[in-house]
Subunit: 463 residues, 4 copies
């Protein structure tokens, strides 16, 4: 069935997913409607193969059903579903049309719909993460690591509350994101690999399978092993909800790290700050009315997509609740889960693109650092004065900073001119005075830490 | 551009919107990508017509631009946007290709992109509500009113905490929803009619328009009047955010009423309660493995869609915040707003369909009411005893209900046998005793109120 | 009962509410536990007075009960509740201890708990808004109006995407918030005045009251009139949920406007921008380690409180759903509603305090505006060139801005030197050239609009 | 400072936390304001002890500071904070008053406020989970395991969509929750043990500590080791946000499991179902007006608290974002984090109490199972028919169930009377026929699975 993109409502497909070849390449086998049908057919085939292995049907039957699973098309299934209003029964009927009468009874044999649906969903979500989301995130990590190494020594003022604090390097700024993203990659991988399936029947007690199968838990284990999955410790009609909940949480919390990075970059791109910029293409228009504008629209887009997808966790938590051996009120809502995967991966690819070509302005970073005329020396000054015995160094320095501001004098001058502090000041080594008087000397271990973080995450992630 | 539905991710279009002819009929002109482009072109044309009226360009130019607005296709605009990465400039360029060189400068003249985007969005959201959402809700109201009138006298036990309380009628149960939905219809209408546009330029101070136009606020008023809209009291690059926020709140809170109705109906459909049922089609399959199941899947679907769309209000509140004269971090997220409209309308149509064919079982309702063996008489008993002077009637009756339960005796018998209460009991009139002893006589004004609610809302909504 | 503040968990009371005299003065009568008990007693008394008026009990009884309502203490009620685990029955029992045996039966006569609870809640929420939230917001409006008038002509660059766009005035920046807040004040008032009570019994069908009262709807109207309220059109055990939902939405969306204002101010306080600052007290410490820091911590606090309270709307929407004639699953959650009122009012008072003493730096605003060397002239240039017939003015000017950037030449010089544009440029009037070349001349109607917005809202709000 | 509970707004303390001795015992050392101050003082003392170990100050100084940390009271600190408006500087000043002039400089030496705050928070959250939340959850697990073992064989109908599906046992119903809660206990423990501290200074680059300390990362490791914590891989002014985010997610998703259990129990308590009941105390009042009511108010309370606390995850995700080396906009909001811990633990204790005394009605469970007159035999019938070669068993049985319903005949009779099925039916073994005809024989491995789940979780959790 073809859809006219201009007759669509949701921007997810026509604007973000479908035109993005890289996104489709990464995720297409796991997030689309076609993927859904295919993965469900795979579960049906896996179950029949295990029946054969257990001697309940013949290997020939298993072969037929495996063939049917490969042959059946979503088009056929959709047509049958339109007739009978039940998607798994539609799949089963469609698959039956590909097999002999002998094989027919062994398709969906002892299974309930959600044995197939939940298992197939776990398989798709798992692979979407392992083959799509994580490779995209790792590529972003590589880009950030290259950037951090390049800028490991590039002086930048550290900012807290939007105010200048004490100096760092731009590489160190990026290293924070390398580590946070690295942590999320590991967490997404762990959650994806922990997704579970189930082959335990209508209410989870193996009622149907135990009619014909000696050890129905063994049957479940074998079918799931065919799909590369493990069973839920126990299930109702559905798998314990927490496996998917954790998985979604990891995606959403990872999206939040991306949003944070995007926020930082667009703030650094403010006209008054101008430390970084998105690269602009020659023909690109920044504003329909202000021809001079270069807006950080990609970073804004990442933040905006986060605002769209982060609240979906409320849906996920709501879907953790299902009455008794389940109600269906999580069914439609869970159909929207893959949207979050697409949103996150799209944002990752976008950030990889921009961060890989990020324009940085080292001179401007230095100029910004110099703006406060040595005021960042207040911190080392107070620490050194305290170390040399001043009983209330913080208060003493605080007053001098006020004096420096009121008299518009660099803090270093005020400090050196202070009679009260002279006795302590004289004890400082040259290196210590330098740290106080020259902010560029007061970056702690920013550069070293930047490199060690890059090393650590390259190793942990095997990049 | 055609999209293969099986290569899509979002179920919104391929599963819910596109195949639903009625939904497309109600909303198609306002929620699709085509509608977006068309409405934006309408704003451009309106602006040029007002320029002509103000003598800034000729009527001929205005005619050309109006023609261009009708002629331009989303296909052209999309192609141009792919080249220059700016959607409104792409629209402007595309429209220019339809007009003479004389007219070219007067397309988008003094406008900023968001003059066009926000105004067009207000127009689409307004009409989506007035021509789509509200007519659908009114149809549901009509169905519910017919049902409530039909069942105005049908006895049903009122339930609080899932426990039997005192009797009502099934019509009364439905009347609650008629009133709540009626209130939401009025609220949606008011919010829709209060949506605002803006033609005030890049930062809202009419910088550009005041270059060429004497009274730029008059220009804004006239352009918006062409679109049937009023201006935002003041704007930045965008309209004050609260108009859309309120509108979305009204949609979401209306969706919640539908979810509540759906919950009630599926609870009444529980096997043990069985007071209502969704009608089932002959060929329809209820369960892939339990051939006897008749599930309330439509009601569950409504609840599930609510779980998907309700949390979107978090996005809306987040989008109320925009830095300075605006940042763009609400842009992508707002592209998803029409999804909520579609979700709500889909749920409304679905409920209209099921509620219109709702199977009710009057006998079962009576049987359920009878289950507690007159225990509902406790309330009128305690009130009447109090009225006739018992100083602690509530406590006295509470103890008798315990006695009734422990001895498995109908409460009426226990009451009549009580020596302690005899003095008060003897004062009751026959009608009063009947209310205590026969729950079916104790429905308050349920039936009358049902009808008056139906009357009131028919009148207020002009149904 | 006394609580040690250091043994508390929730910062709401011990940190924000209890130590804030102004907050307690504004809200104390409506948001505390004492207020809850008092308002519920008021409803009980109102009901008995109406019974007297209807001739069901004597005026003397009504007098006794009114006295009991005034006399009963929350301490007594709490003690009784600890015994019987039912809060309204505890209130009733406590009130009975103040009256004669004759009066006892007429306390809570025909009422159900939620007749009292919902009605009292509506009364408290209504007055908390009218006597607390709105006066606080109006005070903030006054402060903002004074600020906007003072700064109506103060030049500031308008910013979109964090980038310099075109000039406005700082008063205009503030005017946007005056209007948005003004709109929320009106919306909160309307929602507060639309809150409803109910006296319709256990399931809303007036079962109990119709036992003894001819026209139970009249009884409901009269009781509610005593409380200054109107009835819900229909109710179950509880009032239609949408009245409170709308009220909470208006509070939360108002909170969002405050958060937006706070964000803008702390961004303007960034070291590199430095256009405004929170006033600092002499003894105040900005940072424990960086003695020079002056952080916008009040603005950050407002944003932080918004992050805490905005998501509560999810609770509110969830509480809109209640099964059948109600379940109690909204009971505990609704006890937290007053927290949102306190949070919002606290943030309002805080902003009033800071905005009233906001330090603004006009010189820095001008310096920032000058940073882009006339680049803001691009917009009027393109409009005027278009007006004088250039067929593609936007593209022409866009290229010149690139040239200006690459050659580090002010845009005005580049424009005047352009041979291609000479033919159009020569047609500009002196005033028009000035607008292009001198950004301070290109503020549209910012100052005028600032004043008209101040005038309008003063009038609409009666300030 | 004493607070009058009736002058409080938030129910969290005065209603839920403060009067609950068990809750205070479990959590008091970690969630209160006193705990905050104490834990922050512990970090200050730990830092000075490590300074002594590194030879930067004397052991005597470290001893003095450790003493000060034990001696300082929240009362003093609050008083000082009121003066200087900075909480950590207030703590430092207060601690200084307990030590000699020699020791004064070594309190907070090279630390920034958030070294102390974030580390102390991690310590409190960790121990609140390990000493409070988890022991409470384990107690609930024990209660559920005892219940499940007791009811392992108690027949109950499995329900999907609120409809009878196929039989299970009531123990099996409970086993699902044992497993889900068990999983959450493990996840909470892992997240708690993974919480991190930081001693890396104002912007995370160890600027201050590297002034005086050779290996500032070693300093950080040693200080955190004193607190039983590990460092964040890298930090800004604050620890990487994801450690707390994951921790909160685990709490919230655990709360959701409790809400699900509560929902199930109150549904099973519906008048028509009546399979379980909350135990009622003798003096307890169920309804103020309906003396016969026994409401599942504790279960409703658990669900209601979940509605209040679940949405707090939106706050948590929002707080994951902090600009540059941090803004403070997560400060006030994070002060509310312990509320979620209290809410969850309160709900856990409540459920432990009710589930430990849950009244179950085995007879009613059997009666409910019998309601559908053998219709649950449809599933085994269809499977066996398929196994014996029927090519379309599902459809054949589906039609017979319709016939059974229309003729009001038990399904077993209809099946046995079917001529079409006779050929297959005759092949069934006796045991197989029994499964079809007697629902009580069709419980799969429910009882066995119940026990194995109990065994597994007892072992994994060491109960």
């Amino acid at each position: 069935m073809e859809i006219d993109r201009f007759e669509c409502v949701s921007p997810l497909d026509f604007r973000y997913y479908v035109p993005n070849e890289r996104l489709k390449e990464l995720l297409g086998d796991y997030v689309t409607e076609r993927a859904r049908v295919r993965s469900e057919a795979m579960v049906e085939a896996a179950a029949t193969r295990v029946l054969a292995r257990m001697g309940i049907c013949s290997e020939a039957v298993a072969g037929e059903v495996t063939h049917a699973a490969n042959a059946v098309t979503p088009e056929e299934v959709a047509e049958e579903e339109a007739r009978i209003h039940h998607n798994i029964r539609a799949l089963v009927n469609s698959m039956k049309s590909y097999v002999s009468d002998d094989a027919k009874p062994f398709i969906h044999f002892t299974l309930t719909s959600f044995d197939v649906i939940d298992t197939a969903t776990a398989w798709r979500l798992k692979h979407a993460a392992l083959e799509g989301v994580i490779p995209a995130l790792e590529e972003l990590e590589r880009v950030l690591i290259a950037l951090a190494r390049r800028e490991a020594e590039t002086l930048q003022v550290g900012r807290t509350h939007g105010q200048h604090a004490v100096p760092i390097t731009f590489g160190f700024t990026i290293a924070e994101y390398i580590s946070r993203l690295g942590g999320r990659i590991e967490a997404i991988r762990a959650a994806a690999e922990n997704l579970r399936g189930k082959i335990s029947g209508a209410v989870g007690a193996y009622n149907a399978s135990s009619v014909m199968i000696e050890d129905p838990e063994e049957f479940e284990r074998l079918v799931l092993a065919e799909m590369g999955l493990q069973p839920s410790p126990i299930s109702t009609q559905v798998v314990e909800a927490e496996f998917v909940t954790d998985y979604m949480h990891m995606l959403v919390s990872c999206f939040t790290v991306l949003a944070n990075l995007a926020d930082d970059m667009r703030n650094l791109q403010r006209t008054e700050i101008s430390e970084v910029a998105e690269e602009f293409q020659a023909a690109q228009v920044g504003s329909s009315t202000m021809p001079h504008k270069r807006n950080p629209w990609n970073f804004e887009n990442v933040k905006s997509m986060w605002k769209q997808f982060m609240p979906r966790m409320i849906t996920v938590y709501s879907d953790q609740i299902s009455e008794h051996q389940r109600d269906l009120s999580n069914s439609a809502s869970q159909r929207f889960l893959p949207e979050v995967i697409v949103g996150l991966t799209e944002a990752t690819l976008r950030l990889t693109r921009i961060m890989g070509r990020l324009v940085t302005d080292e001179e401007q970073m230095r100029a910004n650092l110099a703006m406060t005329e040595g005021m960042v020396g207040a911190e080392p000054a107070y620490i050194l004065l305290a170390a040399y015995g001043h009983p209330d160094a913080h208060e003493a320095v605080r007053k001098l900073t006020l004096q420096a501001q009121q008299t518009d004098t660099p803090l270093g001058e005020v400090l050196q001119a202070s009679e009260e502090l002279a006795e302590y000041w004289s004890q400082l080594t040259d290196r210590q005075r330098e740290m106080v008087l020259d902010p560029t000397q007061y970056t702690g271990i920013a550069a070293r830490k930047t490199r060690s973080i890059c090393d650590m995450w390259e190793q942990r992630l095997g990049l």
